[in-house]
């Protein structure tokens, strides 16, 4: 099959690789119909996340048609499914508590050696990511092997377009959980840092959950415009003092809840690279903890801090005093995707949530390297790239 594979920093290629096959009883094989490039794929692309190996197949936002099932799968050939990016067994303590992204079994034991010393516990498995998260081949390919296919995938009714439901795989539930973690009460004002895909879905979700005002903070005009379309007021941090603005826009109270949809993924997961990048990075890396720090400073006393942004190591100058003295709550975590997919699919069907507004570009799988380059270099215009393996390549 053809698949987008990693060859090194800024070097991804579409190669011919062996087709996947059923390995474990609960596996299913999908023929991919749509697969997106995620912001976190860009950090893999930049080569800053350790544990990636040459030839790894990327992609963790994907959907497709079931073409093969193991004896333990509950899927049927021909069904269309969206697959959560978190791989979850459904039977461990965490999965039974619906903490799916904390699954204790999905990451192969031999892949857990580094994360236990680093985080105290091993991580769950993720598709198309670092080998620290299992090194599972991803979905930017013609076919993918889906473990525990009786737990993760959600079956999509015929008649719904791929573009309507693809983002159930990651960014929509991630934005939704970000808003849920903000514990929004009616009348609340919520501030969201980062108007990327997750931030935009967090804006949309916060409105649905009853926030009276949502304020989005970014510097890309097109992304701020999309936030406005979602019902947010916006702050362009390149032109405005954010803390002062939030204080004045809320009559001195501050937002009731703040959401950091920026993160600092690019700092990676390995102990050495974390400290190195914390010291060395002046650009993106220094900005990212800056967003979290600002969010905590802005948040009203007794408010809530929600942190969907991904972090991998240690933060410098974390405002612990503000967190404690203002009595803030902090909630975070990788998304428990399977907990939200059914409810969110229903909301999409009922027209309450729209996800298609986000997609700026649709490309063939063969054009994936172009998609990576532009998604990285032209963030304002390229808000979301969806790859269609069935589409003919551009000439």
């Amino acid at each position: 099959m053809r698949a987008l594979t990693y060859h090194g920093a800024h070097d991804v290629r579409v190669d011919t690789v062996p087709d996947p096959e059923i390995v474990n009883p609960r596996d299913a094989i999908l023929e991919i119909t749509s697969t997106a490039i995620c912001g976190s794929d860009l950090h893999l692309y930049d080569g800053v996340i350790p544990g990636l190996m040459g030839g790894d197949i990327l992609g963790h936002e994907f959907m497709g048609r079931v073409v093969e099932t193991g004896p333990g799968s509950t899927l049927k050939k021909g069904q269309r499914v969206v697959v959560p990016f978190t791989i979850s067994c459904g039977q461990c303590f965490h999965c039974l508590k619906q903490q799916f992204s904390a699954c204790d079994n999905s990451n192969p034991a031999e892949k857990q050696d580094l994360t236990e010393p680093l985080f105290g516990h091993a991580l769950s498995g993720l598709f198309g990511f670092s080998h620290l998260a299992g090194g599972y081949p991803g979905g930017q390919a013609e076919y993918v092997r889906v473990p525990y296919s009786d737990v993760g995938p959600i079956v999509i009714p015929e008649g719904m377009e791929d573009d309507e439901v693809l983002f159930l795989s990651d960014i929509l539930p991630t934005g939704w959980m970000a808003a849920e973690n903000a514990e929004i009460e009616p009348g609340d004002t919520v501030a969201v840092w980062g108007a990327g895909p997750v931030g935009l879905f967090a804006v949309q979700s916060a409105r649905i959950m009853g926030a009276e005002r949502v304020i989005a903070i970014d510097h890309h005009p097109r992304r701020l415009e999309l936030a406005r379309q979602m019902g947010a007021e916006v702050i362009d941090y390149s032109r405005t003092h954010v803390l002062e603005a939030l204080r004045e826009m809320t009559g001195g109270i501050g937002p009731d809840a703040v959401i950091d949809a920026v993160g600092m993924e690019s700092h990676g997961f390995a102990p050495d690279s974390i400290l190195d990048s914390a010291k060395q990075t002046v650009g993106l890396g220094a900005d990212a903890p800056h967003a979290l720090r600002m969010a905590i400073m802005a948040c009203r006393k007794g408010g809530r801090v929600s942190m969907p942004g991904v972090y991998g190591g240690f933060a410098d100058k974390f405002p612990l005093g503000a967190l404690m003295q203002k009595g803030l709550q902090l909630r975070t975590g990788q998304t428990h995707v399977q907990k939200y997919t059914h409810d969110l699919l229903r909301r999409i069907q009922e027209g309450q949530i729209d996800t298609t507004f986000l997609i700026s570009h649709r490309l063939s799988l063969e054009d994936a390297p172009t998609g990576y380059r532009n998604f990285k270099d032209k963030q304002d215009e390229w808000t979301k790239v969806v790859l269609k393996p069935g589409m003919a390549a551009a000439a």
């Binding site: 062996p18 996947p20 096959e21 390995v23 474990n24 009883p25 609960r26 333990g72 067994c89 459904g90 039977q91 461990c92 303590f93 039974l96 204790d104 079994n105 999905s106 990451n107 192969p108 034991a109 031999e110 892949k111 857990q112 050696d113 236990e116 091993a122 498995g125 080998h131 299992g134 090194g135 599972y136 081949p137 092997r145 473990p147 525990y148």
Partner: protein
Amino acid sequence: MSRTITYPRSRTGASGALGLVALAAAGLYLGYKGSRRSEPAPAVYIDDAPRRTARGARDSRRARGQAVVGRSVTINKTPREVYDFWRDFGNLARFMENIEAVSTVGEVTSWTVAAPLGRSVTILSRVTEDRPGEVIAWASTAQSDIETRGRVRFREAPGGRGTHVEAVIAYTPPGGAIGRLAAGLFQLAPEVQARRDLKRLKALMETGEIPTNSNRKAA
């Protein structure tokens, strides 16, 4: 002067493994006591942690040159289910990376363990304690390539979380050629190997399969 340190049996998981080695060593005890400045120090200060987690030489097995590997895992099955699975020793090759073959004749079980350079080591063991749903302990026989003892306990985990499984293995690598081979027996740090093996056991029992990122069946 020699002096025996008595460990309370209750709650200290590893104390169940005391059968592994005799305890003694007054010198160690005094050295330990001397390092504590607070006073009045209790005559013997013992906390509730497993002995293998002790700092320094408090674990007298280690002080005597034995390697001790211990690790626990919680499995969402009943103690009896986990015990039954483990007691069928043939199952161990399914989740222990280094075990190539297991066979039992009469009371003696023969373990073929992978060693570097494609070689293997044979361990012959006999069950020394067997309480269904609670504990299995074993010790190597004199004919074994390596001297080793082990014990695995199965206890009901709090909060209905299944079974707290704790495995403790002590071994003394012998001298000579076999010893050199045995020294390289574990291609990984033994703690890492123990964790991997128990995590695989957990996955196998909870999900019916052992996770892999491989896209193809092994050739």
